[in-house]
Symmetry: C2
Subunit: 329 residues, 2 copies
DNA sequence: TGCAAAGATACAAACGTTTGCACAAATCTG
DNA sequence: CAGATTTGTGCAAACGTTTGTATCTTTGCA
């Protein structure tokens, strides 16, 4: 690997001049810049970013921390963020927390130790308050949160209109004719889930129905827990469920198919691609992950001011919320 | 951020001693090591990996290059690799190529410039020979390829038994009673796809059938091209398709449902999760991505010797390959 | 007790870049 | 044309570690 020192030697100038020439400083003659650029090309020079980062005290790497990359939602956020960041000259270091607090701490430490330029993150279910985040990142590493955010932390937060969305989804079920609607509600240490629960409750109230803790199934976000909760919902006389996640809705459908239930509506959340492909197709409250990723990246580039940006959700109406549905294997 | 120099000063020793103490060198007295470790803990010291990497000429980051992370196959490979690599003290830098040669070149340059410890990759469809890979990475960065590999390149290759798998999948269709079986065949600059095509052909020949270029639909890996190819297959009198990918198989199914075809079998490849959830459920030749990721990571850790490791595929038999199937919307 | 061997630490250079400051040359001003 | 300003380059330190070599201190053994 050639260095700026070698280029400098070949041209009879100093490394400083080469450095300035290559980084576009105005303090170098146009002719020298040309000469340097030519020699650099000739030698196949590429800046040693490790040295550069050490000297500058920061890197062009932006860390993205997500619970799991294979969730479509997150991989699409990453896709959006990456597109914007690459365009702006940043690279992306992706860390998974597997929903565990310990892994989240490790990931943040890794990113800080690598002196990343910033962090975009969606916190793990296992981390119930954000104090570790700021204490690890300190003052110098800008933070942008998306989807699952701790609103008391500094920096920009990119969120969905969870309250509105859940309200619409629940109202849609009511309009279809369902009357006793339960919810698979996720974890309450996540503000996103808490807001969805509130939206669901508001929709019930606005229709003159009283929310009941008996049919609010907390902490259900995976297929298995969705299955279990749905059985309880059936026992409790529900005829529909608004699920704050698609996988728990899938589990609920497992239960419905198993018992060949009729007139039981389901709306999930996230619009994972399987929802459109399964049969009957699942209605789902779509997030807009790619857009959220773009906005998170842009917020970082713009300097991560405090504040919240809302990306709207969109209800995708399919067969699972049709009143006349019969669930069969 | 505290440095080893500060710790050294606080203890009245030199930075070298601190460095050695913290990195477990046998050349420091046990008492000093204890003292150093205690002070480090007290100061909340964390090694500046950027400086460390510069000095050592390499980092603990392993680059993973994939076409797209939101393909389940790849995100699961990444998951497996990450598990093994984290365990061994490495971090993971993920790059997407979006199937484009130019992006692949950029990704590899980024990784090299960051002095990654190694690269695990699955090449883009757009890159038709691997010469750029070795020329960018050079001698010092070990390379492990997985799934889509260039076999002439040095380093370990982790592959599926594509030939065997496609042979079994096609034979399964034959055994079900299908007689004119076409294939949605992917891109021939990828050895994995080429081998699947060969396996398919062999299965036909072994049943006394002659492969025909007319019903081998090359370059079809996405939903749209699968749809188009299936229409041609129907026109050509096919009664089944072995598809080298799941998304093209999905497109084919779109065409079958549109025309309410009966007795037409489909087997896809990759076992994306939607295949089991859709209805009728799609038979698919499952890869073993998590295991491939683990093996790729392990091969890197073990030193990336030349050679090939084969991870077996497994045929998941579902409804789409049942002879009596009728496709309906 | 003396001397060699081993053990522990210090010294200093190096990794490759960036950047404040100094300085020289070129240009401008009156 | 002298002095002031601008422009272009060099010098040298710094970023925080790591590591080969040198130096000093123990320890062991005769």
């Amino acid at each position: 690997m050639t260095t700026i020192t070698e280029i400098a030697a070949a041209l009879g100038v100093t490394p400083s001049t080469v450095s300035r020439a290559l980084s576009g400083s105005p303090r170098v003659k146009e002719a020298t810049r040309k000469a340097v650029e030519q020699k650099a090309a000739e030698f196949g020079y590429e800046r040693n970013v490790v040295a550069s980062n050490l000297r500058r005290g920061r890197s062009d790497i932006v860390g993205i921390v997500v619970p799991r990359i294979h969730r479509e939602f997150f991989s699409n956020v990453i896709g959006g963020a990456e597109a914007v960041l690459n365009e702006a000259g940043y690279n992306v270091l992706i860390c998974q927390t597997h929903e565990r607090y310990e892994d989240e701490v490790k990931a943040l430490q890794t990113l800080r130790n690598n002196r990343v330029a910033g962090v975009l993150m969606s916190h793990a279910i296992g981390s119930s308050d954000g104090s570790h985040i700021t204490s690890i990142l300190g003052q110098n590493i800008p933070l942008v949160q998306f989807d699952r955010v701790f609103s008391k932390l500094p920096g920009t937060k990119i969120v969905s209109n969870n309250f509105e969305g859940a309200y619409q989804a629940t109202r849609h079920l009511l309009q279809q004719g369902f009357r006793r609607i339960g919810t698979l509600a996720g974890y309450m240490n996540s503000e996103a889930y808490a807001q969805r629960l509130e939206g669901y409750r508001k929709a019930l109230k606005d229709s003159g129905l009283e929310p009941s803790a008996q049919i609010e199934f907390l902490d259900t976000i995976v297929r298995e827990t969705g299955y279990d909760a749905c059985k309880k919902a059936l026992a409790a006389g529900c005829d529909a469920l608004y699920s704050a996640g698609d996988f728990s809705a899938l589990g609920a459908i497992d239960a419905l198919k198993e018992q060949s239930i009729s007139h039981f509506g389901i709306v999930g959340t996230a619009n994972e691609s399987f929802t459109a492909l399964m049969s009957p197709a699942m209605s789902s409250l779509a997030l807009n992950p790619y857009e959220m990723g773009c906005q998170a990246a842009q917020a970082f580039i713009d300097g991560a001011q405090d504040g919240e940006k809302v990306v709207p959700m969109e209800l995708k109406i399919r067969e699972s919320s049709n009143f006349n549905i019969t669930w069969q294997k």
